[in-house]
Each structure stands twice: as C-alpha cells, then as structure tokens.
C-alpha cells in the first residue's frame, strides 16, 4: 500500500524518566515503536524517538508529521517537578487562622505512598516540604459556613496587603483557597480580583488561581493542593508543551498536541486545568486495554503493567474502568478524579537482599531503576537486582539488552549474586537466582489475586492483559495457577502506554461537590429543589467544558456532553459514580429516575439485598464530561499463516534455567512471527524493546491482531 491510501495517522508519546517512547500507527493499524533516551529538552527526545520509530518504515519525521491527524503526549516531567519540589514559587492565601493546614497534610501525607511497614512505624513518617512555604502563606479574615452562608464578610484590605507582600517576597503565582468556598465562591473571587489589581499596580504579571474556579470540591487540603499544583507545577509545563508543539509545527505538523489526564481522557495542552495531567503514563495502559477490549469483545479485563520499579494493576468490568474520586499522587492528597489503580513497589529492577535476622530473601522496596543492576558496571550499582537474576538464567539476552545500547558484564552479575545471595543461603547460584524470580512472581500473583477477590470477583471471569517493559517476561509467572480465562501479551507491550494514550478520547471532565439529600419524608417541592440544584451544577460545569473546547476551536455542535453524578444512601460513607440516564433534568419525576439508576448500579456492584433505600438518597457530586470525535489507532488485522513459524523468525537457542535445570530455549524474533504461529516452551521471543518468556509447560500463539495468547498446557 502506498502513503496515500495508508498514511501514518496517530502518534502516542510516553516521555518517561529514562526512555521516551513513541508509537506511530498507520490507517490499517500497522505500527512502529521508537525509543530514545529522555532529555531535559523533551522536544528533542520526542523527535529523536520519532526518527528511531519511523526508520523502520524508511521514513523521516519531516515526511510523516504533515500527514498525521492525532498526537497524544504523556510524560513524567510534571510529576518529577513536584517530587523534586522544583516548581514555581507560589504564594498561598487562606482563611485567617488556618495558615497551617496546608503543611499539616491532613496528617496522612507523612506516610502516603510508603511501604506497609513504613506506614506502621512512626519513626519513618515524614512530612515533605509543603508546596507553598509558611512564609509565603497569608491569612485573610473571612468565613463561609458549611451551608454556604457568609458568617464574616471578607476583609479585602487584608487581601490587598497580603498580595503586595507575597509579590514583594518574590512569589511568581498566587493561589487562594478559603474554607467552604465550593459552596460559596464570592470571597475567593473577590480576593482573586484584588490580587490581580495589586499585581497590575505593581507592574507585574502573575497568574492568580482561586480554587473555586478550578476545583470547587469539598476537603480543603485536597482542593488547596490541587490548585497549588496548577500554579506550582503546571505553569512550567505549559512552556515545555508550547515548545514541543512549536517544534512539531516547524516540521509541518497540523494537529493540536493533546495530553493524557488522570481521568482517562486527553485534554489540550492549552487547557486551563493542566494539573490533571500530573499522572498519565500508567493510565495510558489502562485506556489502551479498554480500547482493545472494546474492539475485540472482551468484557472483563485485568490490566497488569510491570516496569522497572512498580507493578500497576487495574480492572475493567463490563467495559468500564472504575474511578477514584480523590486520588493521591506524589504523596499529596488531591481532588482529581483518577482511574483506580493498585500499585505495589516491586518491579523487574527491584533490589534483592538477604534479611540477616530471618536469613530469607527480601525484595525492594527500592530499585535500581535506570541503573539496571550489577550486570551494568557503568550504572554504579553494587546491590543485586531482579534483572541480574534474569540475565544469569538466560531469560534476557545480555548482548541485546534494550536493543543493545547497554554493554553488560555477566560474570560480574554472577559473582555478585553468588556473594550476596547464593553463598549466604547455602544454595547454588542458579537456584538462588531462580528463587528470586519465583519470589517476585509469587508476590505479584498474590497482589493480583487479592485485588480481584477483594472486589468480589473471580479471576476466571477475567482476561489478563500483560504489558509494560517487564510484563512479557513475567506474564507466565504472575498468572500461573490463577485461572484467568486467558493471558494476552500484545506484541507492542513496551509501547503499550503510548498506544493507550493515542486511544483515549479528547475529553474534559469537571466535578463539583453538592449537598443534596432526599428522604422518604421529603416533599415534591424538596425533589424539585434537588433537581434544580443538580441541574444548575451541570450547567456550570458544562460551561467550563465548553470554554475549554472553544480554545481549540470547537463549537457546541461538535461536543457530546455526558452528565454524571455520585450518589449514596444517606448516612453511608461510600458513594457510586454513574452516568445520568437523562441529559436534561427539570421535574421531580426526573429525581426518581436518577434514584432508580443508582439502585440498579448498587445492586450490580454489591448485592440486591445490600440496597438500603429506606435511608434516603444523597447526591455528593455533579460530574460533566464533554468529548469530541478523534482519530484512534486501528487494531492490526493480518491473515493466518499457519502454526509453523517461518525460518526467518527462528534465531537459535540459549541455555535457560527453569524448574531447577538448564534447558535449551528456542529463540524467536518477535517481529518475524506471523499470525497463527504456535510456539511451545521453553522458548524466548525477543524484540528490541521487550522479551517474552514462554517456559516449559506453556504455549503461545499469535493472533491476527498481533496479540500473543499465553496458555498453560500442563
């Protein structure tokens, strides 16, 4: 096919801490993956990685970029800026008397994100530096009560003074967050206008963020953190993305770059609320799984992504990804809707040590990360990592690690494993290394099982997708014996997050907290009021969604609005999120329809008998999602070529240690395998970006969509 009938249409970018992956897809679904070392200048890394990918098609970015229609970016730069506390100096204005709540972090930020033992022990608890320093914090006298009524009018002369001091001190942005402002935003907005006025008088141009304009939701620590991130971390990202967009435009790109956001949609890089894109990499994988599942007709999917430092799991149930209302990221509580994921700090690069008291193996919690392990002397690591064990046992090819860009020293790795692990345990080198891998697989398997059964499901109802750089190496190990319907490894596992980003909708999502409660004693007038309140909240959110789309030149006719809400039985702690059965509401009967939808959802998620309508119903949040049509990658579809792999796919054999003995594993080149081909273990299927291990007792076949199906045969 030529370029005209089969143009390159979609680009997904995953700019990680160490590698920048690009994923290009043609109209017929064929794709290439590119890799480049990440760079301080992200645009450079993206273009280098693009050139690497397109070289597979003998093309250059200059030829391809002008024909593309979609580009989605996800990266870790913003997250790193937050973790390293290298953001914009930001001043904070709060209700007087509450200057300290931000650094108190709801008393949970001192252990958020820590391993279980470190959460239990007080001596490991520690508060990170607050985003806004206490010296850059000012209180302004005002008070709004829990119903939104003004108790103390705002003293604007204090706000004026505060703004002047903060700007004089050198703050480059100001954030305003008052108590209960989500119920009544007049005070915050008045102070915002005063700050802008003061800045103008002083002849400086600084951004001012009132929390009510961005995240009008309850829980002031969450709301303040999130609004602060908008100033502290997202402002610098705007400049980086503008540069990326300009560089792409220079070589002919006509599309608008979009960024993956934590709610699972993509938003424009020009969006007002860019803090939503703080965490995007792992979400890309979940979105990619959902898209793949939808295209191929899988209802229930367990997503598993294993990288160098962590194992991320998520569930798709009946085609739906569940959402977490206040996600926490980078050890901060935030009011961002986040795709629910479970993460454990064990990965393919975890360090391995012997616990001197129990004389047993201990994995992590830290990992070698980009420094790989003792097998890469230039990385400067002296402690054995899981990767070292993989290299020793023949799982990975030391001569082609990450496409051969690193030179590995296998004898050094053997010596380190012998000295640090095998000798202290009194085992052979091979058994010690195999023990490490078994331990990692066991711990991943237990977490995967726990996550599924804790939600009341059984693995036998699920198909497991395994991706990420380390997914295909461990897929057999962490799914063995769990009883999944099937385990699927996409041939583009290493670029799966980038692929997933490209499959996500162009979608904005806004939330607003509401306090609506209707019991069986409520009157029709009460229901009318409830419906009016919810309707007004939807209207407000819809306006915000439209405002964002207008930046990219869309009109109301282009945008599909999907209202949603979170409802609970009054008095219960948990609420459920669902799409509204109605796009417009206006009568008391509409309330009954919302309730009926909630009742059904509740019965499906929990159980019929657990329903408690006698308690009455509350709406805790109004949600509005707006999306426009975008071009998504097609899934490749190739004809069946029979079970026998072609000669060019077979590349030899390698000694491989499994089941306490050395065997000869057949080696295959992943790119050269054809649909229908069957491979029986022991075998190792290699490509530049990933290695797929099929041990004895397993078999795999490649389908027409370039998905490997892993089957346990014994």
């Amino acid at each position: 096919m030529n370029d005209l009938t089969n143009p390159v249409e979609v680009l997904g970018i995953d700019a990680g801490g160490t590698m920048t992956d690009t994923f290009f897809v043609r109209a017929d679904g064929t794709f290439v993956v590119g890799k480049a070392q990440s760079d301080v200048d992200e645009a450079n890394a993206v273009l280098t990685s693009s050139a690497d990918a397109l070289a597979h098609w003998d093309k250059t970015p200059e030829e391809v970029f002008p024909q593309m229609v979609t580009c989605v970016f996800s990266g870790t730069a913003m997250l790193n800026r937050v973790v390293g506390r290298k953001g914009l100096r930001t001043g904070l204005i709060v209700s007087k008397g509450f200057e300290d709540f931000h650094r108190m972090g709801r008393a949970i930020q001192c252990y958020l994100g820590y391993a279980f033992e470190d959460r239990l022990h007080l001596n490991t608890h520690r508060y990170d530096e607050p985003l806004a320093h206490i010296h850059d914090t000012r209180g302004v006298t005002e008070r709004v009560d829990s119903k939104g009524g003004v108790v103390i009018p705002v003293r604007l002369h204090e706000a004026r003074e505060a703004a002047r001091e903060l700007i004089e001190q050198g703050c480059k942005a100001i954030v305003i967050s008052f108590l209960s402002s989500y119920l009544n935003g007049t005070h915050e907005r008045a102070v915002r206008d005063v700050c802008l006025e003061v800045a103008k008088e002083m002849g400086v141009k600084i951004p001012v963020f009132a929390s009510v304009d961005y995240y009008p939701v309850r829980k002031e620590t969450h709301r303040t953190n999130t609004t602060l991130l908008e100033a502290y971390a997202a402002e610098p990202s705007r400049a980086i993305l503008a540069n990326l967009s300009d560089r792409m435009k220079d070589i002919g790109a006509k599309y608008d770059v979009r960024v993956m956001a934590s709610h699972g949609g993509t938003i424009s890089w020009k969006a007002k609320e860019l803090a939503r894109t703080l965490v995007s990499g792992p979400i890309g994988g979940v979105m990619g799984s959902r898209y793949l599942a939808e295209q191929l007709g899988y209802e229930n999917v367990a997503c598993s992504d294993i990288g160098g430092t962590s194992f991320d799991m998520a569930l798709i149930v009946k085609g739906k990804v569940s959402m977490h209302q206040d996600g926490d990221m980078a050890r901060l509580v935030l009011s961002l809707p986040l795709v629910s994921m479970d993460t454990i700090g064990a990965g393919a690069g975890s360090f391995v040590r012997i616990d001197p008291y129990s004389n047993s193996l201990k994995l992590g919690p830290d990992s070698a990360g980009y420094r790989v392990g003792t097998c890469w002397p230039a990385g400067g690591v002296d402690t054995v990592s899981v990767t070292d064990c993989h290299i020793i046992l023949g799982y990975l090819n030391p001569d082609n690690f990450l496409g051969g860009i690193l030179e590995l020293d296998v004898p050094r790795a053997r010596q380190c494993v012998k000295d640090q692990i095998a000798d202290p345990l009194g085992m052979s080198l091979e058994d010690a290394a195999a023990g490490v891998i078994e331990l990692l697989d066991l711990s991943l398997r237990q977490h995967l099982r726990a996550m599924i059964s804790a939600k009341g499901y059984s693995p036998s109802d699920f198909v497991c997708f395994s991706y990420g750089g380390g997914g295909p190496v461990h897929a057999y190990g962490y799914t063995m014996g769990l009883g999944f319907k099937e385990t699927i490894v996409p041939a583009w596992a290493a670029g799966f997050s980038a692929f997933g980003c490209a499959t996500a909708d162009f979608e904005y999502r806004y939330d607003k907290s509401t306090d609506i409660g209707i019991t069986k004693d409520s009157t029709t007038a009460d229901k009318q009021e409830a419906v009016d309140t919810l309707g007004a909240a939807w209207k407000e959110l819809a306006d915000k969604v439209m405002e964002e789309f207008k930046i990219n030149g869309f009109t109301e006719d282009d945008v599909t609005l999907t209202p949603g809400y979170r409802m609970q039985y009054l008095g219960q702690l948990n609420d459920l999120e669902m799409n509204s059965p109605l796009t417009q509401i206006g009568t008391p009967e509409d309330w009954d329809k919302l309730v009926a939808t909630f009742d059904e959802t509740y019965a499906r998620v929990y159980a019929d008998a657990a329903r408690s309508p006698e308690l009455g119903f509350g709406v805790t949040a109004a949600i509005m999602r707006g999306s426009v049509e975008t071009k998504k990658p097609s899934i490749p579809s190739e004809p069946d070529a029979g079970p026998n792999p072609p000669a060019e796919a077979i590349t030899g054999t390698r000694p491989f240690y499994y089941g306490r003995k050395w065997v000869d594993a057949k080696l295959y080149k992943m790119e050269n395998l054809l649909p229908g081909n069957r491979v029986t273990g022991p075998a190792v299927i290699e490509s530049d970006a990933t290695t797929y291990v099929v041990p004895t007792g397993f078999e795999t076949w490649l389908d027409g969509h370039r998905l490997f199906h892993l089957i346990e045969v014994e």
Binding site: A115, E117, D118, N123, T124, R353, D355, P356, D366, T383
Partner: protein
C-alpha cells in the same frame, strides 16, 4: 542488608544525612558494621582517648578509662562523673525551675505547667557547663536513674569483644 560508609554514619550523627538514605537505614535491617562506625564517629568528636562504649546523651558517654580500665561516665569535655553503675546526675550541677517566674524564661505565660504539680530539673556539667539532661517530674519525685545498661549482654549481642572490667 546494606552497607554504609563512615561519612554517612557521621552525617547521620550530625543530622545532615539526606532523608532518602535515613529512610532506607530505618526501614532495612541494621548492617553489621554500624555500631563500630558509630563509635568511631563519636570517638573523633571528643578530646579524650578513653574508648567510648555506649552513648547515654548527646555529649555524655560510657567509656573505658585509659588510665585504669574502669568503666565510667564521661562528658565530651573530659569531666568524669564516676562509675557507670551509679547515677551520674548526682554529680551534676542541678537547676530546678519551680516557680512561675523561672518557667516564664522558657515558655510563654499560661503555656507552662503549674509548678506545684510539675517542675523542670536541668542537669549541667560542673566543668564545661553543657546541659546534659532535663527531667519533668512532680516536685517530690527522686532524681531519676535513666539507664543501667547490662554491658556484658550488650557486647554479646554486638558480637564485639567486651571490656575487661564490666
């Protein structure tokens, strides 16, 4: 098990070690060399040659006297408080805060305890004047004896040679 350098242990004592390393030290099983390195670091911070066995305060150590191998408690400045089995506080200068005025010197009014219920007893070195400890007991309570270490067992645990006179 991890290994740390003497520089890292020294920074730990000074309080300048980076949090990531401190966190790792706290979470991981203790490395075998740690106590030895810790004692070496302490030894470098004092002016005397007597061997430090155990720290009982930021500037107060149990040492093996170079003179007669007796185990005594010694201030960084060299002042000797006597045999380690005796309460060193009895040989210290003592200042008791037992009135509103004296409390006001350290805490704002109304934020200090009622001295008929609780007093502060401050213990100072008679030679160099450094503060070694503060107690906050009820006024009638005897001088507290904070630590009576079983050094013999301690050195068995450490798997290090014990001094002769314990």
């Amino acid at each position: 098990m991890s290994n740390y350098t003497k520089k890292q242990v020294s920074d730990l004592v000074k309080g300048t070690l980076d949090w990531e390393t401190v966190h790792l030290m706290l979470s991981m099983p203790k490395d075998k060399d740690r106590y030895k390195l810790y004692m070496e670091v302490l030894q470098e911070n004092v002016s005397y040659d007597d061997k430090i066995l155990l720290a009982v305060g930021p500037h107060l150590n149990i040492v093996e006297s170079a003179k007669d191998q007796e185990i005594i408690i010694k201030c960084d400045c060299g002042h000797e408080f006597g045999h380690y089995s005796k309460n060193w506080k009895l040989g210290a200068l003592i200042y008791v805060r037992d009135s509103v005025e004296k409390m006001k010197e350290v805490y704002p009014e109304l934020m200090a305890p009622d001295t008929s219920w609780q007093v502060y007893r401050e213990y100072y070195c008679p030679s160099c004047g450094i503060m070694h400890d503060v107690e906050a007991p009820t006024p009638w309570y005897p001088v507290m004896h904070d630590i009576e270490p079983d050094l013999k067992t301690f050195f068995e645990w450490l798997e290090m040679p014990a001094p002769a006179k314990i």
